[in-house]
Amino acid sequence: MEKRVLKFDKYIARICLILSILSWLAMMASHQIVIFGLRSSTPSGIPPYTPDLFLIGYTLLVYGFFRTKLLKAETLNVIELLWRVFVTGLITTIISLLLELAASFWEGIASNPFIAMVIYDLNTGLILCFLLSTFAVLKKLVLYQKSKNLLRTWRFFEGTLLFALGLVLFNLEPFGASFNLLLGLLVVLSLVLAGNLKWVAYLDFKEKWRSILLLLLSLVYQLYFVGYLIGIPFEHLGTRPTDLLSQSIFIGLFAFCLSYSLFALLVILFNLPTTSVFEKKFEEAMNFSKLSQSKHAGRSEEEIMDLLLHSAVSAVLANAAWIDMHNEEGDIVRSIGHELSEKEIEEARKQLAANPVLREWTTLKDIKKQKTSFTLQAFDFGPYRSLLLFPLFVQERRYGTLCLLKDVSEGFNTNMIDIARTFINQACVSVENHLLLEETLDNERYKEEIKIAKRVQEELLPKKLDKNSDTSIACYTKASAQIGGDFYDSFSLDEHRMVLTIGDVSGKGVSAAFHMAEMKGVFQSLSQLNLTPEKFLVHANQALSRCLDDRSFITLSYFLIDSRKKTIQFARAGHCPALFYESSKKSVLELHGKGMGLGLVRDESYSKHVEVTELAYKPGDMLFLYTDGISEARNPAKEEFGVESIKSNMINHVSEKTEIILSRIIESARGFCENQLPDDDCTAVLVKFQENRLQEKPVS
């Protein structure tokens, strides 16, 4: 789209150029005809205003040409714009001078009224060409960073010029009252607009010098042309054509171009001495923005400090500087130097440490006072005569020290110190952000690892338990927010006998998860050995005694269900007693019995604490295994759910399916806690005994 517009502009520029040449030719031709008519005393047959009409057309078309040309050059900078004025001026002046030269060389020919008229028309064309190109460029400069008001003023100015151009046709009496009024308005507007020189401030030192040169030359061209116009020998011409200097439009244009060029020249000239200050301020602003951006760019602390060092050096015009970065104990862990070697920094540091004033300052108890800078206006170290020291504080901790050195005494003024402090504050904020980000990332990483540990632990718990022909088993487990150590598992010893176990590792967190994994390993390996419950616990205790730290233990209940003998053998290693529902009595029994947690006693004497109990089951009986997360689930009033509640739930839902009974118990416990997150793991396994589905055929 843009490309097409550009192309379109190109055509417009070309058309303007061709038409302007044509109208210039037409103007010249009409002048010739008028002269011929005057000479031969025969009416030329063309209206007297014809040449002026073409002059107006030429003016508009040339302006149109330069305007369209400049539209394309949207991105041109000031120097390039002024360069255009200079080049156009150079070409037109040279041609004009050559014409003059030729005229004086062939004076005879040049005095011919026809030839003289051609030369005059050529010059008029050149002058207008230069004037309008300058006008188009200056328009761009005036409207640099335009405001609405400025734009309005400019449009009014342009409108007035257009109006004045139209008046060329009416041959207003030069310097009459209305002429003066119009001219006065144009001059006032020119002077008002000439004050718009915002672009000057953005030029650097070199650019300012170039602008001065270019403006000076274009002023010379303008004055040359004005001089030429004043000195035109109209008496030599065959007729008296429209004098440009008797038309308000052209005087106005000259007034504008001259005043603007002159103003700009003077303003730049006066701005020259302060340019370095502006440049410095600009650099400071750039440095500041770099420091501010550093928190987004994820720079390292050292990069930020490096940036700070260079920003501060340029802000206070220091000759040398260094930054010490401290660790939390206050020791220097890293130094970055500017124009200073490691050795020099070391020496300077020593000298500072010996300075009594500084020592007093560093031992200030009040951290607020310490946060301010410290200046040694008379400091003698190598070629340096003054020192400025800034402590850097990040997260209320002394993070580092910035020392700036200068080779003159009393080299730092308050203005510099303020700017440097701004840099330091920004850098400290950047470092703080950087550290916070790191901390957050670390936390995230840690959380992620906990999540993984939790998932691994959950995968260690079987989704489905082994069962035999007599049992229907449902299980439930829910880990707390932290990682807990609940454990359950099953193992089929043979067709008729299966082992079921439930346990709880002491403590919480990752260590509990590890111990639980150990327990799983111990259970799976010992189960293979087809041990009695007693032997199993003794061996498990022995194995775990070597694995567990001295403050950890595991509680466990071990059940051996024999579907042929219809018995349950169990041993309890410190785990909360399982519940056994007897359908014949419609009551629940707590399976106590002597027991001791695994890992509590770490020698052979453990076997003395193991007690194995055997009981018979009938179809309809139930065995409920759980961890204390369920029985000790607490409501907001800190009351426990309790074993009795479990018992009544078992009795109430006895006729339901195994899974349903289990979920009723869990729902009941959760309802009791008012759906609060339990602060412990909850695990439960419910076994319902039923008629053997694979009825063995009676032996005949």
Binding site: D550, S552, M596, L600, H609
Partner: protein, 114 residues
Amino acid sequence: MVDITDYTEDEILILEVKGEIDASSSLSLDQAIADALKKNYRNVLVDLSKLDYISSAGLGVFMSYIQEFKQKQIYFALFGLSEKVSNVFQILGLDQLIPVFPTLEQAKNQVHGV
């Protein structure tokens, strides 16, 4: 939270434990018992009458010191356990390893061999 204070009575160091012992407060219990060991008393009793709750981590702390008390031949016992806390000790079997008495009097009688 747990609050542990100690005092001596008849050459016996008595630790009074108030509040709840969970995973985090078990660290203060650990510290208190370690400090008690350093004081070189022949007898150390722990008053658990104002203990409302003890987690497995807290039980682990008591368990971890059994061996050390035995080695240093220091008599170590608990007394005044609430029914709930006592139940927790019994289920785990820890009451078989550490003597538990209903009252301070009974614990002291044991110490003095009455």
